[in-house]
Symmetry: none
Subunit: 410 residues, 2 copies
């Protein structure tokens, strides 16, 4: 089954609203074994909706349209789809009554223009909207499926998962493909591809690669029946893990922070961080995880020289003579993190996030990252590119990975 | 001038990567008076790139293509565009040398497959990539413009703003509309609209509103010649600023952190922060700004009870009796920030980011935010919804706004 997604809305083309609907739908369809051929973001204009729908139905088995189901004059999707299919619009008395009682419960009389939201396309199935007034539509047309969904993400997502996807799955019982993502780190996209190629003839499931900062997502695609696809993926995964070793840190939606969290929890250990150039990025990433207060004791962003001396107890003379961007400072910061927060593990990050260097004239992007436990400290030197925020993010990724490797070997 | 945007990448159709490029480009083009007709998200497949490009060039004066410029085999955009235009690819020796020295500076030999990133389309202008190895291309073809940009947002955005947009603007001198965005905070979207409506008949440039977390973007649209559009916007802006006062914190891409930075620099003052529930979010936002080390002394993420006692000097007995989420703790944290980092201003944030409460059983989302200078401390209580990350982000927004209002009145 091949799908097309059409997102309708002038506000998407002016950038006023960030379009998250296509990403959500793509993710859901893809992991259900339905490939998305194309996403089209278009204006609230019936001729454009008509053209986009014609093209999508020509190339796809399933077309999902979001947006343009509101009560105002510029909401045209329902009418444009009916016109394209040459079907009429029929008042759905049940939905009208539900809308009226919805407004009544808020002590308001339903505005007249909401009435058109109860108009459904002839021969379609109404998909109830539990979070708003615009219902969706499920339409079968010459062996193909058209699903019309409201634009607001919270309405659309809930309706898709609960009403539309079960109906789509019924029509798509013969699974054709499944995808599993392995998350890799510490090895570039090119080198990773080369390593796998060096293994020899690749007779397993097809692979694709996406770089995210310092991480690479490696997708394995299995085909055939559910069982065959799963077996194909399992074979490829086993081999890839053998080739790449601990460069594979997880799968699916795992983040480095998730994996570090699981390792710390599993060993019942705690963590603290002292950051300079990453400026709170690492602490922020760690605390985005629910329950992090159980193992994360806290952090210090020691930006000024004074704070490095007064809070961390580093030597003012040494910092003034040698600068703050070097291995020994990173090591001292990691140790200070453990001591100040009384944690089992400590991380220290010092570097130059730019855009300009300091008095030391060392290159922008130079970062030293250290991780310490009770008996040893590891430190790595990197030069990152990509601008200030990328340098901050990469420093945090490397720090989490260094800690992960330390936790794995401890 | 009408534009089309094509985003190329299998990872966008599998939902692996959230597509933020089309939203960014739409916003930028819209505020330069260039309407976007359509966005097309398509696979890394040359026949599909070919079809999409043909359609876009048929309907638009400007086509922007992002993605597919990487070094791996599935990166095909450069080749597909060359093929469509029936032009050759030429090795750009200068870019090759730059890539080689880039890899050499990291102590690595350039992988052979990166070489294709130095291939440029005949007759095109190379757009330098200051944040990665894939250069962009600016191509003129039969009175139309094609701009090819890399997929990673940090590379794409920087290249678009600095290299591509100036060239596009040169080709688009007959402006038809301009948009200016005023950034507002501390007032909801509805109330903001009501306040402006209460002013009376609005005979000025048309307005639109978009809420983003606790901020509202107010867009003013001016039309006609460049001069007429600018004058129309200026009149409306002056009136809006009179009506809304200091609820307007900036314009365009200004963030609260930018504005606070400018105020601190202007007054030659310094800042430090002590965070609990926001977990480094605030420090991270502040340090995303280039040059923040001049006024930001640092921060502490005091997550554990121990760190609140040992590092901040708060009373263990009081914390145990009353919990950590209350006004007096926020005030003490703001004061501790000033003292520990010897800064002019201090911020303290304590609250419950969830997903579950602590022993106090206070509601998730309850946050106390304090700002202190040498003579006073302000504190605000909020209950935020929207889940853990939204609570962290909103806490930081409110903290920056509280500090902004304090700086304005000092």
């Amino acid at each position: 089954m091949i799908a097309g997604i059409i997102c309708v809305g002038n506000e998407l083309l002016s950038g006023l609203i960030e379009n998250s609907n296509s990403g959500f739908l793509a993710r859901r369809l893809y992991s259900s074994g339905i490939a998305v051929r194309e996403v089209n973001i278009i204006a609230d204009q019936d001729s454009i909706i008509n053209d986009s729908l014609a093209k999508a139905l020509d190339q796809c088995d399933l077309v999902i349209i979001t947006g343009g189901l509101g009560p105002t004059e510029d909401d045209l999707t329902r009418e444009a789809v009916a016109l394209y299919l040459d079907r009429g619009l029929i008042l759905n008395e049940k939905w009208l009554a539900r809308m009226e009682s919805f407004f009544a419960s808020r002590g308001v009389i339903m505005p007249e223009n909401n009435r058109k939201q109860a108009m459904v396309i002839e021969g379609s199935m109404l998909l109830e909207n539990e979070r708003g007034t615009a219902p969706g539509l499920f339409i079968e047309e010459q062996g193909k499926i058209i699903v019309v969904l409201p634009g607001p993400p919270n309405e659309m997502q809930h309706m898709f998962d609960n009403k539309a996807l079960p109906l789509i799955k019924q029509s798509n019982s013969g699974i054709q493909s499944l995808v599993k993502t392995l998350k890799c780190v510490g090895i570039g996209e090119s080198l990773l591809e080369e390593k796998i190629k060096a293994y020899g003839q690749w007779n397993f499931a097809p692979l694709s690669y996406v770089a995210r900062g310092l991480e690479v997502d490696l997708q394995i695609k299995g085909s055939g029946s559910l069982q065959a696809a799963e077996a194909e993926i399992a074979d490829a995964e086993a081999l890839i893990r053998k080739i790449l070793g601990d460069a594979v840190f997880g799968s699916g939606d795992d983040t480095l922070a998730d994996i570090v969290a699981a390792l710390l929890r599993g060993k019942n250990k705690t963590l603290a961080v002292v950051e300079s150039c990453s400026g709170g990025q690492l602490a922020n990433q760690i605390t985005n995880i629910a329950g992090s207060s159980e193992y994360f004791m806290g952090g210090i962003v020691a930006y000024s020289l004074e704070s490095k001396v007064n809070l961390l107890g580093l030597s003012r003379a040494k910092l003034q003579a040698e600068g703050a961007v070097n291995e020994s400072t990173a090591v001292d910061m990691a140790k200070a993190a453990r001591e100040l927060f009384r944690s089992d593990y400590g991380i220290g990050i010092t570097g130059l996030a730019g855009p300009v260097s300091d008095q030391s004239k060392k290159p922008v992007g130079l970062v030293y990252i250290a991780a310490a436990d009770h008996k040893k400290t590891l430190c790595r030197e990197y030069i990152f590119g990509g601008g200030r925020q990328a340098i901050k993010e990469r420093s945090s990724q490397v720090a989490l990975n260094l800690l992960r490797l330390m936790l794995l070997s401890d």
